[in-house]
């Protein structure tokens, strides 16, 4: 029988985390399903509730960054004016209202499902993940944080305190999730893309694909092939870019969809994005 803890403060939480091996429990919308037992939930370890801690729920600007507390609910994020559009859109399509009112981005992140929908925008926006323990804090980029399906670099005594999202000026944005149905759906694949163009030159470009690999697929090498190009030079490169992404998108067959479909749709979405924004004469 698992014990649950409800610390009164962030310090108390960190103390508990350093003393015991606990499951951090925010909204619980994944944990309660994964640990469903015969007569209520059946957790393998003890649990610590943290969604009530004010320090973890804040969403605030700090200079050119937006700091999103790990226990801010998906609804909080969906409705907050300062949250970047790409992240807002992705979050607004997760599950359904009742789940968004409880589920947190921290939970979505630490659950690290390859189909976690808040994660690709965080890759694209170059977000950083702040881990906190009694020993101090570590800030990791996405590539350093996500290790594989269900695996992150969070250590046993650490909690995810917040996510630091740079507030860049993108003038081109795209997010599309392809789910098993129109709402309340698990993701088959998704594209998140952002670009900044200035005077017809691609200043910055960031593209991520969700649910088509063990972690989110983002390849800066391929992006760099387009950064610095003039917008109408992209047209001639579209096929080779598609081909490049084709080698890094590695989906699987499962009960929701097929590898063939997921890959083709990702590449179609990418082509549509590139054609729409970059292949017109200026």
């Amino acid at each position: 029988m698992s014990v649950s803890y409800r610390p009164e403060s962030l310090d108390e939480l960190l103390s508990l985390m350093s003393e015991k091996d606990l499951i951090p429990f925010a909204g619980g919308t994944d944990l309660m399903v994964q640990n469903a037992g015969v007569d209520g939930p059946d957790f393998s370890k003890d649990v610590v509730f943290l969604a009530h801690l004010k320090e973890l729920k804040e969403i605030k600007r700090e200079g050119n960054n937006l700091i999103i507390g790990s226990a801010a609910t998906l609804s909080d994020i969906e409705n907050h004016d300062d949250v970047p559009e790409l992240l807002k859109k992705a979050v607004s399509e997760i599950a359904a209202p009742a789940l968004r009112n409880r589920g947190t981005m921290g939970g979505n992140i630490c659950n690290a499902s390859p189909a976690g929908d808040s994660i690709p925008p965080l890759y694209v926006l170059d977000a950083s993940f702040r881990l906190l323990s009694c020993k101090g804090e570590r800030v990791l980029k996405a590539e350093g944080f996500f290790k594989g399906p269900g695996k992150t670099d969070r250590q046993k005594d650490e909690i995810l305190k917040d996510v630091i999202v740079p507030l860049k000026e993108w003038n081109i944005r795209k997010y599309r999730k392809v789910g098993t149905r129109a709402a309340n759906a698990l993701t088959k694949c998704s594209i998140t893309a952002a670009a900044k163009t200035k005077n017809g030159i691609i200043d910055d470009l960031s593209i991520a694909f969700g649910a088509v690999g063990p972690v989110i697929i983002r390849d800066k090498n391929i992006e760099n092939k387009l950064i610095g190009l003039s917008v109408h030079d992209v047209k001639g490169k579209i096929d080779s870019i598609i081909s490049d992404y084709s080698t890094v998108i590695v989906p699987i067959d499962d009960q929701r969809s097929t590898a063939v479909y997921r890959k083709k749709v990702c590449l179609n979405l990418l082509r549509e994005f590139l054609k729409e924004h970059f292949s017109r004469e200026m």
Partner: protein
């Protein structure tokens, strides 16, 4: 002017919305134990040994050795055992029932029961079944049923054909996903087993439980609890639970509850029959149909349940609403080691309708004619001979229905404008559904009886065995009585379906409730009105009378009038195709129905809309795959049904066509509403993609594959 069709507030709407209605899981039965089934993990095997763990006090394992009567569930046949004897035939087959007070300990016991199996090569496909893989499973040829009907002379017509066109159509599994999962409670009361449950057919449960206990009809009592959706999934399936439950309650003399969790329900309960229907058509030199040969095979799964009756529907609806001069229809229901298939709204007609409508669309395309114009040449009429050499006795209003649907949906403009270049499509399906039990089944098998009882305070009670399961029966039966008696509907009391209280008016299935039993309620009410005396108690019984002007049915030869009357429907579905993701968005749906006279417009429209959405779900969202006998989509996260954002706004209308033999001219509506969504959807998708499809579920993955 208020007619019978004028909507009233459903009599149970307020209590249901306000949360007062108690379903089986909400009811307090005092002390009880939980029961959970121990199941086979093999699709096909011989049970060599079963090793039971030692049990703590108060826990029991009930199995075949505890059955006092027959270890066989009497449905149409009795091949499905209460507890597996020597063989198991599907993953999930019941082997034992573990009973006790704590769910966690029951779970532990379940995990400790050890079964030694000897695997036998299992049959997962229709072809493997017909090839008798692993040795014959059923009868001589693995067919639960093999029926053939012939009208005219198809053989000659085919030999003289200028062209022959053949295609095969396939439909997949469908799970009911009633919002309330299976639940039954057994009580030891008055020296016998009493069962309360979420059921469609209390008397079916009594019929299956009594031989298992070895008692007479009055040896058990079955009581209906308000039912949170059924769609055929609670027609026979509760027999599996109630027989095991009855054995346990009978042995232990304790109250026991069996409630299914959702995953257990999805993975172990009966499904819609998958189908493979090959249609071969002979055309003359002018492109007219001279003959059809329809060969249908359905996968009945591991036990027969009602596969033969479903098969009959598949065969009798094989050419849909079309009068084809020469027709041969053959149907087979085969056994496999997949989860058993059984009743699901439409009961074979959706499968047949999908095939014939798709085929007619393909023929139209092949002969260069618009699909509606092509189909209209063959519409059945009053007097048309059916495939079983019966007759359509009623006026057929298809032309009027088509005209209405076209106007509502702006069809003529859209069918010209839409197509591959616009990625939009519009599809049109026509279909019918024979009401009630086939042929003479209503008389020979059911012979329904009902009673109405006027109380001294002038309120009137209705006693029927048909249940309210969301289709509005409580309200519509009350309306029939109230309008006939010319008393306020508030004075009608719809009695609970308790086998000790109500007569057997037959099961709540086959679109028979209004058509057959509602008619009896109307007749009894009319009689009561004549005999009415204020302040006196009067009881009137009414027994089923077969309609007079029918061509007699021969169940051996399957000839004659298969059904006394048909309901008719037309669905129009509009879609948009997304080339990037191959997803389909359904942007409009229009429905026109002839259900005789709707007893309540709003009630029937509710059926129309719910039925269409369920039919569309089957067509493109509800994918259920079985691999090596194991269902792959096991939760509501993976077996997806439509949400509020997956469905279009729907528009409905009726064409009145009163049926003389029924109360107020009403015919059935409960199932026909599922017959048209899939073929209309398919035609629309074909138009929007410029590609032909022949199977459902038509997922984006399948569309993408076909477009390569």
């Amino acid at each position: 002017m208020n007619t019978i069709s004028t909507p009233v507030r459903r009599l149970d709407a307020v209590e249901k919305t306000a949360g007062f209605t108690k379903y089986i899981a909400d009811m307090d039965f005092g002390d009880f134990l939980y029961g959970k089934l121990f199941r086979s993990t093999r699709a096909r095997a011989r049970i060599c040994t079963v090793k039971k763990p030692s049990l703590p006090d108060g826990y029991y394992i009930i199995d075949k050795n505890d059955v006092p009567g027959e270890n066989a569930i009497h449905m149409i046949n009795s091949d499905w055992p209460v507890f597996a004897d020597e063989f198991v035939r599907f993953i999930g087959d019941s082997i034992a029932l573990v009973v006790g007070p704590d769910k966690k300990i029951i779970s532990k016991i379940l995990s400790e029961i050890e079964v030694e199996y000897e695997d036998i090569p299992a049959v997962y496909t229709i072809d493997d079944s017909l090839a008798l893989k692993g040795g014959v499973l059923h009868g001589k040829d693995n067919c639960y049923g093999d029926y053939t009907t012939v009208k005219g002379d198809p053989e000659s017509a085919f030999s003289e054909a200028a062209q022959i066109y053949e295609n095969t159509y396939e439909t997949g599994l469908q799970e009911h996903i009633y919002m309330e999962t299976q639940g039954v409670v057994g009580l030891w009361q008055d020296g016998k087993v009493n069962i309360h449950g979420s059921l469609q057919c209390p008397f079916y449960v009594r019929h299956s439980v009594t031989p298992v206990l070895g008692v007479e009809e009055d040896g058990v009592r079955i009581i209906q609890a308000p039912t949170g959706g059924a769609f055929g999934g609670k027609e026979h399936y509760p027999d599996i639970l109630t027989t095991a439950l009855a054995v346990a309650v009978n042995k232990l003399k304790k109250n026991i509850k069996i409630f299914y969790e959702r995953e257990e329900d999805i993975v172990n309960t009966v499904k819609r029959h998958p189908s493979r229907i090959k249609i071969r058509t002979a055309l003359d030199i002018d492109g007219n149909i001279t003959a059809m040969d329809v060969d249908s095979i359905i996968d009945g799964g591991a036990y027969e349940s009602c596969s033969c009756i479903v098969l009959q529907r598949v065969v009798f609806h094989a050419t849909g609403v079309y009068d084809i001069p020469n027709v041969k229809c053959r149907g087979r229901a085969v056994v496999t080691n997949n989860v058993p298939s059984d009743a699901f709204r439409g009961f074979g007609a959706p499968q047949a309708s999908f095939a014939i409508e798709s085929h007619m669309n393909h023929l139209a395309e092949k002969t260069g004619v618009g699909s509606l114009d092509f189909k209209a040449r063959y519409f059945q009429k009053k007097g048309s001979v059916t495939n079983t050499n019966g007759e359509i006795h009623e006026e057929v209003k298809l032309k009027e229905m088509v005209a209405k649907a076209k106007a509502m949906s702006d069809y003529d403009r859209k069918v010209k404008e839409y197509g591959k270049s616009s990625s939009k499509g519009i599809g049109f399906s026509l279909f019918n559904h024979g009401g009630a039990f086939t042929g003479n089944g209503e008389k020979e098998i059911i012979n329904a009886r009902i009673k109405v009882r006027k109380l001294k305070d002038n309120r009137v009670e209705i006693y029927v065995s048909n249940v309210e399961m969301g289709q509005g029966l409580l309200t519509t039966f009350s309306k029939i009585a109230a309008h006939t008696l010319e008393i306020p509907i508030e004075n009608i009391i719809f009695m609970q379906q308790d086998t000790e209280l109500v007569p057997d008016s037959g099961p709540t299935v086959a679109s028979r409730s209004i058509l057959i039993v509602g008619t009896l309620v109307g007749k009894a009410s009319a009689k009561l009105k004549k005999q009415w005396v204020d302040g006196e108690e009067i009881t009137v019984w009414q027994e089923y009378e077969a309609p007079k002007d029918v061509i007699p049915w021969n169940q051996e030869t399957l000839q004659g009038d298969a059904y006394p009357a048909y309901s008719w429907g037309v669905n129009v579905v509009e879609v948009e195709f997304d080339k990037i993701t191959c997803e389909i968005k359904i942007i409009g749906a229009w429905n026109v129905y002839d259900v005789g006279v709707p007893i309540d417009r709003l009630v029937v429209e509710g059926q129309i809309e719910g039925g269409l959405v369920q039919g569309l779900g089957w067509a493109y969202l509800e994918k259920m795959e079985i691999r090596e006998g194991r269902i792959q989509q096991r939760t509501m996260a993976d077996y997806v049904i439509p949400t509020s954002l997956d469905v279009p706004v729907m528009e409905n209308d009726f064409v009145l066509n009163p049926y003389e033999e029924s109360a107020f001219g009403a015919k059935g509506a409960g199932e026909i509403v599922h017959n048209g969504g899939a073929p209309a959807f398919l035609e629309a998708v074909q138009m929007s993609t410029g590609t032909q499809f022949n199977s459902i579920p038509l997922t984006p993955e399948k569309i993408m594959e076909s477009l390569k």
